[in-house]
């Protein structure tokens, strides 16, 4: 075990996977110099420019190249930098990577990981702060992973790289510097398994990314008021561990969903809809979503603090359905 930051855990996992499997390649803008996100440092020195490639600013081109390389036997790990840049290369993700296997009648595998920094809180404004999980969840053929701790990040990224399908791996910017205990050796965490970050009996809070930490703080605080909050981190949104969510909701009979993207047509909508269909009879109260309001991410710190779901708003939502 070692204490390390989420960014370090990701870096270490890439190193381990590159050592394990010579087919793993790394592509992205400025990765050789460590990347603007500061995640790919040291890779070039260790593995050389043939395996760690700097890409020109042409996301559609290099994501497409990763798709082609994956189709013929490589395992590219691609850095998109900010998830907001997906708009210039979405085609290669959703029409090519995710659909090729199906369209070709099962005759190809596209083992590819697309890493992207997600979320706000760093004053980066509307085009560098978005959360777009829901878009990726809507793409059959894709997997979507979103860890909230260094430990989960390491195990899930290893699984993502070893997976034979295209995987979008979301990294919450506000969590890059967050620390946690991480085993030094290699390990995997299966994609599609939720994790109960805290057990509770009165209400289930499903949270992702940096919202997990906030939900845990809320759970801690509310415990002293006698409210027992269960915090469930799906860890992957596609596939979604419906069973774990349903089991929890059947126990607590109340559900609050917390995420950083806008509420409308966001990832929480799917979770709420799924529960409203499959655990309706267990529900004792309306399903609440705590998420961003329906506007772009503002620059001003005060506005952004209001934009990103706060512990207060989580508390209010829980209280509203406990009454």
């Amino acid at each position: 075990m070692a204490t390390m930051k989420l960014a370090e855990a990701i870096n270490q996992t890439i190193v381990l996977e590159m050592e394990r499997d010579p087919d793993v390649l790394v592509l992205g803008i400025d990765n050789c110099a460590g990347g603007v996100l500061g995640v790919t440092g040291g890779l070039k020195d260790r593995f050389g420019e043939n395996r760690v490639l700097d890409t020109p600013i042409s996301e559609g081109g290099y994501l497409g190249a990763a798709v082609g390389a994956a189709a013929v036997g490589c395992r590219p790990v691609v850095e998109l930098m900010f998830v907001d840049f997906i708009g210039v290369c979405m085609d290669q993700l959703f029409n090519q990577a995710a659909k090729m296997r199906y369209m070709f009648g099962g005759k190809v595998k596209i083992p590819l990981v697309l890493r992207a920094a997600t979320g706000g809180g760093v004053g980066a404004a509307a085009q560098h702060s978005q959360s777009l999980e829901a878009w990726f969840m809507h793409i059959p053929g894709l997997k979507v992973v979103y860890p909230s701790t260094p430990y989960d990040a390491k195990g899930l990224l290893a699984s993502a790289i070893q997976d034979d399908n295209p995987v979008v791996f979301l990294e919450n910017k506000a969590l890059y510097a967050s620390e946690g205990e991480v085993p030094t050796e290699a390990y995997t965490i299966p994609i599609g398994k939720a994790d109960i970050k805290r057990e509770g009996s009165d209400v289930t809070v499903v949270a992702t990314g940096q919202m997990v930490g906030k939900a845990l703080m809320v759970a801690e605080k509310m415990a002293s008021d006698g409210v027992s909050v269960e915090v469930l981190d799906p860890r992957s949104l596609l596939p979604l561990d419906e069973e774990a969510i349903l089991t929890s909701v059947k126990k607590t009979q109340r559900l609050v969903i917390v995420h950083e993207e806008v509420a409308f047509a966001g990832s929480g909508a799917e979770i709420a809809a799924m529960v409203a269909e499959k655990a309706f009879d267990y529900l004792d109260a309306p399903i609440k979503r705590v998420a961003a309001p329906f506007c772009p991410v503002p620059f001003a710190a005060g506005l952004e603090a209001e934009y990103i779901p706060s512990e207060n708003r989580i508390v209010e939502a829980i209280k509203a359905i406990l009454e």
Partner: protein
């Protein structure tokens, strides 16, 4: 050029196979036997044939929405293709893909593609893999004059160039992007005038002369295998049929089109004459090839018709590996 007479006759057969396949297909679409969007390669056979004749099986190609010619030239089986077009379980994609998504990874065919301009980056990626793995496979990306205006094509050219990848960009300049003349969608006379901006060597060939296409490709392949990087080959040709089967073709004159079907322009008539003139083959041989291909296509149709449709249980399969 180092082609034996046999190989030349083989190229003739390939072109004819494409032509006959497409002619049959047109008939099948018009009679309602086949549905979906179908884009025919008639008139452009020399391009795919010339290019693929210079490739090994392990070399890669990416194709387009107008892909049947590329597939057949790279060795694709007409019965499996026809079955796919009939949406049958025995087709290349189990009936799930259709005309715009046929692939055969074992033949290095990385797929037709319904998105214009999506193929070139994928070919670049296959080239990257070849370079990284140290094998000598080259990647060929076929794309049209229209596609050359798509941003991804520009990006792919730049990537292949800076990484010096074994990629050959084959431009099928067939005078049209859908209903729009080439002169109306770009100001350059030739797409390949853009190659120099990426420091990619380029060559322009008569795309209806299969041997010229072959020769240019052979050079490009040699250069790619020697690690000298990408080449662009622009093939001037003409789309004889409408953009898709059913296109009302209001945007061009009958004369313009007919002029490309003359004996000195049609790629197959031209090559046939040459084979005869140069005593590479006699009429009997060519006629019997014609007959064989006719039979092959008929059999392909029969095979397709007799094959079962995919079972409903197939719907949710092959989404994930």
């Amino acid at each position: 050029m180092n082609l034996s007479n046999e190989e030349k006759v083989g190229m003739f057969a390939t072109m004819l196979r494409i032509r006959k396949f497409e002619e049959k297909l047109e008939e099948l679409v018009l009679t309602g036997n086949i549905s979906g969007f179908v884009h025919l390669y008639i008139g452009e056979e020399a391009v795919a044939t010339g290019v693929c004749s210079a490739l090994k099986i392990s070399d890669y190609i990416t194709s387009t929405h107008r892909g049947h010619g590329h597939l057949i030239a790279k060795g694709g089986k007409t019965d499996l293709m026809m079955a796919e077009l009939f949406a049958k379980k025995t087709g290349y994609c189990k009936g799930k893909g259709g005309s715009m998504h046929i692939a055969d990874l074992e033949l290095g065919i990385l797929g037709a593609n319904g998105i214009v301009g999506a193929g070139p980056p994928i070919a670049v990626g296959a080239g990257l893999a070849s370079k990284y793995k140290g094998n000598d496979n080259v990647s060929v990306s076929f794309f049209g004059d229209g596609a050359s205006n798509q941003g991804t094509v520009h990006e792919a050219l730049n990537l292949a160039s800076i990484w010096k990848l074994p990629v050959i960009f084959v431009i099928e300049n067939n005078c049209f992007a859908e209903f729009t003349h080439q002169a109306d969608h770009q100001c350059c006379r030739l797409v390949s005038e853009r190659a120099e901006g990426y420091r990619i060597p380029s060559v322009v060939v008569d795309g209806n002369d299969v041997l010229a296409v072959y020769e240019a490709t052979q050079e490009a392949v040699k250069s790619a295998r020697e690690g000298k990087g990408p080449t662009m080959i622009e093939c001037n040709t003409y789309r004889i049929k409408g953009h898709y089967v059913g296109d009302p073709e209001t945007y061009r004159s009958e004369e313009e089109r007919a002029s490309w079907q003359s004996a000195d322009k049609d790629p197959i008539l031209r090559f046939e004459k040459r084979l005869l003139d140069e005593d590479i083959a006699d009429q009997n041989t060519l006629d019997s090839i014609r007959q064989e291909i006719q039979d092959e296509i008929e059999k392909a149709v029969e095979y397709a018709k007799e094959s079962p449709a995919p079972d409903i249980s197939e719907l949710m399969k092959d989404v994930y590996a």
